[in-house]
Amino acid sequence: MDRASQRNDFILMAVFALAVLTAPVWLAPIGAAYPDLLQKIAIFGIFAVGFNILFGLTGYLSFGHAAFLGVGSYTAVWSFKLLSMNILPAIVLAILVAGLFSLATGYVSLRRTGIYFSILTLAFAQMSYNLAYSVLTPVTNGETGLKVTRGDPHVLDRLFGVTVGDSLPTPELFGLRTIGWEGFYICAVALIVAFFVALRITRSPFGLALRGIRSNQTRMSFTGFNTRPHTLAAFVISGMFAGLAGALLAVTDPLAGAERMQWTASGEVVLMTILGGAGTLVGPILGAGIIKYFENIFSSFNEHTLEQTFSFLPEPVRDAAVSVASLFVGEGWHLTLGVLFMLVVIFLPGGIMEGFRRIGRAVSGRSAARRADKLQPAE
């Protein structure tokens, strides 16, 4: 890689880290600067970045990634219960277990391509989800969800003489609590690390090989290149990202439920990636942010707040506006999501990043044209 692009990456990394860490400041004007929401955005950002390593780079559309998220969550909560309330072992274990799980799933699923691959991953995820609800109840605690209870062993904590009080223990990082702003900054650091890893992977020869597989797998094989280990590696890496996201979900709220593994959750991450722009670095995080933001904002609206919003309109118009808008907010948030989704796929297949590029091209194109105009008389 030449030095200029290396410098560009460094700038991108620095700007990204700065943007994430100062998110509470610059997101305040749109009412998104509270830790719960920002945590969610960061966590699902990690999930989407990981998903993008598989889908964006290799073109394999997995419909079962939520299973790895769920496995990560369960592992993290079990680590809280058995080992320690410290989040580090929980996160490490969650990544490892999710990685192993995705290795097994990926090894089988990647024997097929196209829609067959999608269905295979979907089948594995649905099997995990159904089993988590039924037979695996001793491990997953079924519908109630797995949570930390009093009387859990906490082996490591006891070993190091950390006393667990009478109250229900909460996750911590060497005494730092993991809720509120501390929680957000833990997730933010994880997101920056995840982004850095994704950036390195994308720029590496390995990332280039993955993109080669995406554009033409047959040709890659003809050049004597064994594609299977590469796609499997990409699959496992994205599974580990999902495991990290799942662990962070458990860190900020130590409760793991099976609904996290349902196929709708897998669909959500596909949506985030597409909305932001599959194959781009920042796009998936942007998509995750937009979806989680609108989910929070839109679902909190009700008739009353709508009437306030439209209070500047004359009454009959206001009533009409409120009744139309009320379809799309609150309970009807999914309708907005569906419409948004269709509009993006129809008009902007490359996602929001594609939109930015188009705007950028239009602007630079116009200025280039103007320069050309100016140059014309001189000729």
Partner: protein, 339 residues
């Protein structure tokens, strides 16, 4: 033991009938237009709500003085049909589900045509991932619209009065007395087989169907012969929508419809289509019944005690095994949808 097996077999058949009908429509659309339609489950759901709408329509009521209350003037709501036709009207109301077919056919045809012309046709040349995503978005939109109109709770719909009981299958086949089976499920099974038969007859025996089949083989060649193949494929999309809608409408007495039922069936039907082999109509029907029956057998107590939880995962497990052993599904053609 044998009785129980027969019973589970029958149970599997009617569920399999629903899977087969949806999978058939999916395969038709895929085989003709080459589009992966994730909104097909939503069409099934729309059909079910056609039955609900029909029920609402027939029971539109007017206040009538209640004669049974003599102390004061009481008023009760009586459906118009009952006011006009008396007992005959009541019978008509009872038959709202079969009558809803009359509503479902034009409505679903319209929905199918609008969907094809308005959205799907712009996606012929786009990647399968994009087709999946846009139709997935459409499915969300459709189900949310239904949720706004009909609410989020399941709406019970009753089978016609003559079909509410159970058929004594055991007596017919000379089996034990325990083998009884709801009448309506038998009707559903017969209906599913009938519809599948009609579709196959349409494709195999009519000239129109022959042209459609030729178009599925080689679209460009049929076009070069001066046939408007696009128009026929659009009609096929409408037919697929009708099939899904009818499957949904007739299913309502078995499971009360909710706005989200389409998605549940869609995921399973997709598995069915893939197991059957993308693009193979016979494969879709075969796999539909097969998976329905397997699911039903897996839910037996004996099987469940041997393999705990098998009833929850059997369909997916079979899908995994079939896809690994036979990459193209049971009856798939080579080279379809493999990249």
């Amino acid at each position: 033991m044998f009785d129980a097996l027969v019973l589970q077999f029958l149970n599997g058949l009617d569920k399999g009938g629903a899977y087969a009908l949806i999978a058939l429509g999916l395969t038709l659309v895929f085989g003709t237009l080459g589009v992966v339609n994730f909104a097909h489950g939503a069409l099934f759901m729309l059909g079910a709500f056609c039955a609900v709408a029909m029920q609402r329509l027939l029971t539109l009521s007017t206040p009538v003085k209640d004669e049974s209350v003599t102390f004061f003037d009481a008023v009760k709501d009586v459906p118009y049909l009952e006011v006009w036709f008396g007992d005959a009207g009541r019978t008509i109301i009872g038959y709202s589900v079969p009558l809803s077919i009359l509503l479902a056919i034009p409505v679903m045809l319209l929905v199918g045509l609008v969907m094809e012309r308005g959205l799907v046709r712009f996606f012929y040349k786009r990647s399968h991932a994009e087709q999946i995503l846009v139709t997935f978005g459409l499915a969300i939109v459709l189900q949310e619209i239904i949720k706004v109109w009909f609410g989020a709770n399941p709406i019970p719909v009753s089978a016609p009065p003559g079909f509410t009981g159970s058929a004594d299958i055991g007596a017919w086949l000379g089996l034990g007395p325990g083998v009884v089976y709801p009448w309506w499920r038998l009707v559903y099974l017969a209906f599913a087989i009938l519809v599948i038969g009609i579709i196959f007859a349409f494709l195999q025996l009519t000239t129109y169907g022959m042209v459609v089949r030729a178009g599925m083989r080689d679209r460009d060649m049929v076009g070069l012969l001066g046939i408007n193949i696009q128009g026929r494929f659009t009609v096929v999309f409408g037919i697929a929508a009708i099939v899904a809608g009818l499957a949904g409408a007739m299913y309502t007495p078995i499971v009360p419809p909710t706005y989200s039922m389409g998605m549940d069936f869609l995921v399973l039907s997709f598995v069915v289509v893939v197991v059957g082999g993308m693009g193979s109509l016979a494969g879709a029907v075969l796999a539909g019944f097969l998976l329905g029956i397997l699911q039903s057998f897996a839910s037996m107590n004996v099987v469940n005690s041997l393999f705990p939880g098998i009833d929850q995962i059997i369909i997916y497990l079979v899908a995994v095994i079939v896809l690994l052993a036979r990459p193209r599904g049971l009856m798939g053609r080579p080279g379809v949808m493999e990249s």
